[in-house]
Amino acid sequence: MKLDSKIPEGPLAEKWNKHKFSVKLVNPANKRKYDIIVVGTGLAGASAAASLAELGYNVEAFTYHDSPRRAHSIAAQGGINAAKNYQNDGDSIYRLFYDTIKGGDYRAREGNVFRLAEVSVNIIDQCVAQGVPFAREYGGLLSNRSFGGAQVSRTFYARGQTGQQLLLGAYSSLSRQVATGKVKMYTRTEVMDIVLVDGQARGVVTRNLITGKIESHAAHAVLLCTGGYGNVFYLSTNALNCNASATWRAHKKGALFANPCFTQIHPTCIPVSGEYQSKLTLMSESLRNDGRVWVPKKGGDTRRAEDIPEAERDYFLERRYPAFGNLVPRDVASRNAKYVCDEGRGVGDTKLAVYLDFADAIRRDGLNVISAKYGNLFEMYEKITGEDPYKTAMRIYPAVHYTMGGLWVDYNLMTTIPGLYALGEANFSDHGANRLGASALMQGLADGYFVIPYTIGDYLAVMPWDKVSTDRPEFREAEASVHGMVNRLLTIKGEKSPNQIHKELGKIIWDYCGMSRNAEGLKDARQRVRSLQDEFWNNLKMVGTGDELNHTLEKASRVADYLELGELMIVDALNRDESCGGHFREEFQTEDGEALRDDANYAYVAAWAYKGAGKDSELHKEDLVFENVKLTQRSYK
């Protein structure tokens, strides 16, 4: 299959404008004849559903939550980037583009990233108009802060709850459209499969999570805005119910899955405290603006942080990266934390943590300033650990946070299945091998507010208006296969709960396909995942029935997909014989331990095609063309 990214020809800065002019339009009166299904109501989903409904399309939106406002976008803390240059510090659309491409270690498309930087400014305008209470200066203007991987202050924020406020903005727009009747909202409804008619995505099969009822919904196009697959790792900063089922099942129906091994490990999370741990909690990266990361110079130092004298501390990020210091990109910060812990210099009970110390910042700016900036984060830390970060240094450790990989999409955000789109974290397109801080919110909203409303018209304009009936055999078959899977899961009479198997999978992926990887480990891990797949389908312990609220069943259905997706992550990591961004292969590093890219052989998107159960996936390559930026070794020294 030849992958056509459909990036418009022409100079970088004109591509999007040109494309907006060249896409076909659906006239306003005809828009009401088209139905669009939106799966997921996070930033990408809610913004897309609202914007499309405003245009006149009929939207059906689905979420497994009890309310669209609970999607995990809500947990993003730090902020959202935009090239507004309000601070007069040299920012521009081109600089945001450049930082994002470089931060992604040159594994993203120039065209997509430039468009992202371009519309970033509109997002802020839109959100302010919706009433998002961004932080402000005393004069009433918007305030900015700086973030990892950038040397300008371009991050807009709402205390430590930016994601919440942006999501509530999108949710309010969505609610307005629900009230007008243009959006039909289905809550506590999980999408179980995508339905193709004549090769086009024409609907979904859903399961009502309360009654267990399996139903079909038909439309002219389907948008997957279902987030990432970080929960393959079991422990991550994702919400517990975040899952990859919609994207994975779309993949099994023919959508290619791109760069699954590009996963991001976030450096500032609260460390694991025990086996019972169910999730990891992120502390916003913005903490690194004022906090200093260090470990004791000597291993096995059991003194309390505040008792270790300055001379015996190793501020390892400041030492190794004098230019960026504590603000190096996430992958660099995470990996360095792992190294010092591997050297035995980790702190805390588990020795899998480093200090993030605010003592200097409090001395410099005063307690009030620090508490105004980070108060809610400090409070959260104290609630979880029982320690007061105003008095003692925080302990942090990296954790899985974001997945750059996802469904392959073209410039129009369409997957390889016609009529099936992927937005936000669910697609692969904008962050390359590593995402910069405060860019996830930007991308989700860019896709939903400012990209899909244009690009979907190009597809629908040539679609006939006729609706397809859910009585068609394609829908019946999909329903039957969902029924079949539910029954199959419920009839395994084994010993292990879905949660146990998930935990085992997570440990394999974290150990072998996490912060650093090597060929031998990956091969071993693949075998282990395969046998875990076998165990899952033979030794699963289930309770309850399919026609009631059954969390065990929901979990099992998701774990079944994690097991397959986990294997593909390993396969992809094994294929990519280079290190780049979040993908660090131990065999490929520079002399001083930095990621060593192989641009000659791996400057491509690895898009995998599903070939059937137990069969190897097929690799398709989309070559990345860099016409504007020069590929360099990333350096933050």
Binding site: A71, G140, Q164, Q500, L549
Partner: protein, 248 residues
């Protein structure tokens, strides 16, 4: 630590529920929900139905989790259930776990309730009518920092429903007050403020929530510390709107 749990079990919306006793032995570093996870793993192992409870982000922001623990919404500490840790309980203690109870929050199963009434209240007017793409430059509207901060304080609501659960009248006025306030405070929200207040209050009443008697339990239990000033502001907005709006 060994604990006795008394948990509300109810098969579905139409069945009768009852408190059932369970004994657990847990680690004091666990979160409250991890303690329930542990119980559920044991129940599944024995082939029994696990206790159904709502939860998602487990970092105190999505507002999904909602348990009435030992007579208080979200338990003894002012936080969300997911951020409550077992170190706040004592060895041998009995913990009673019930769902949030209100007519407008019908029980779905065990500890899971239906809070869609909150969504319907927001749909009635909890938004600023601005279509995508029609916004002007973000810095054209100056908003004094204290006003932006106050709007943020109201907007911090996570719609968990603890206010309703704590209120002896099962009133949703703290929630609705916060939703009305966050827009009423901002210049962008002024255009629709009258209609918004009228419609949201009408929907709140239609959902069957009780009336506020200014007890303050809502605010005292709110994990996001939404203040009673929001209710006072809602009252001003509503009475002002009723007196002066052109909606007949």
């Amino acid at each position: 630590m060994k604990l006795k749990l008394r948990i509300w079990r109810q098969k579905d919306a139409n069945s009768k529920g009852k408190l059932v006793d369970y004994d657990v032995d847990v680690n004091s570093h666990m979160s409250f929900l991890e303690m329930l996870d542990e119980l559920n793993e044991q129940l599944v192992e024995k082939g029994e139905e696990p206790v159904a409870f709502d939860h998602d982000c487990r970092e105190g922001i999505c507002g999904t989790c909602n348990l009435y623990i030992n007579g208080r919404p979200h338990g003894p500490v002012r936080t969300t259930t997911c951020q409550l840790h077992m170190r706040h309980f004592n060895e041998g203690e009995t913990i009673v776990i019930e769902p949030f109870r209100a007519k407008s929050f019908p029980i779905v199963k065990d500890l899971i309730i239906d809070r869609s009434s909150f969504d319907r209240i927001v749909q009635a007017g909890g938004y600023i009518s601005v279509n995508t793409g029609s916004a002007r430059d973000a810095n054209e509207t100056l908003i004094p920092k204290p006003i932006a901060d106050e709007a943020f304080n109201s907007a911090a609501c996570i719609a968990c429903g603890a206010c309703v659960a704590a209120c002896k009248n099962a009133s949703a006025m703290l929630f609705v007050g916060a939703q009305i306030s966050k827009f009423a405070l901002l210049p962008q929200g002024k255009a629709e403020r009258k209609t918004r207040a009228e419609k949201m209050v009408a929907q709140m009443d239609a959902e069957g929530f009780g009336a506020c008697s200014n007890i303050g339990a809502c605010s005292a239990e709110c994990p996001k510390e939404i203040s009673m000033a929001n209710i006072a502001r809602m009252n001003r907005e509503y009475f002002g709107a009723k007196l002066t709006s052109t909606n007949l």
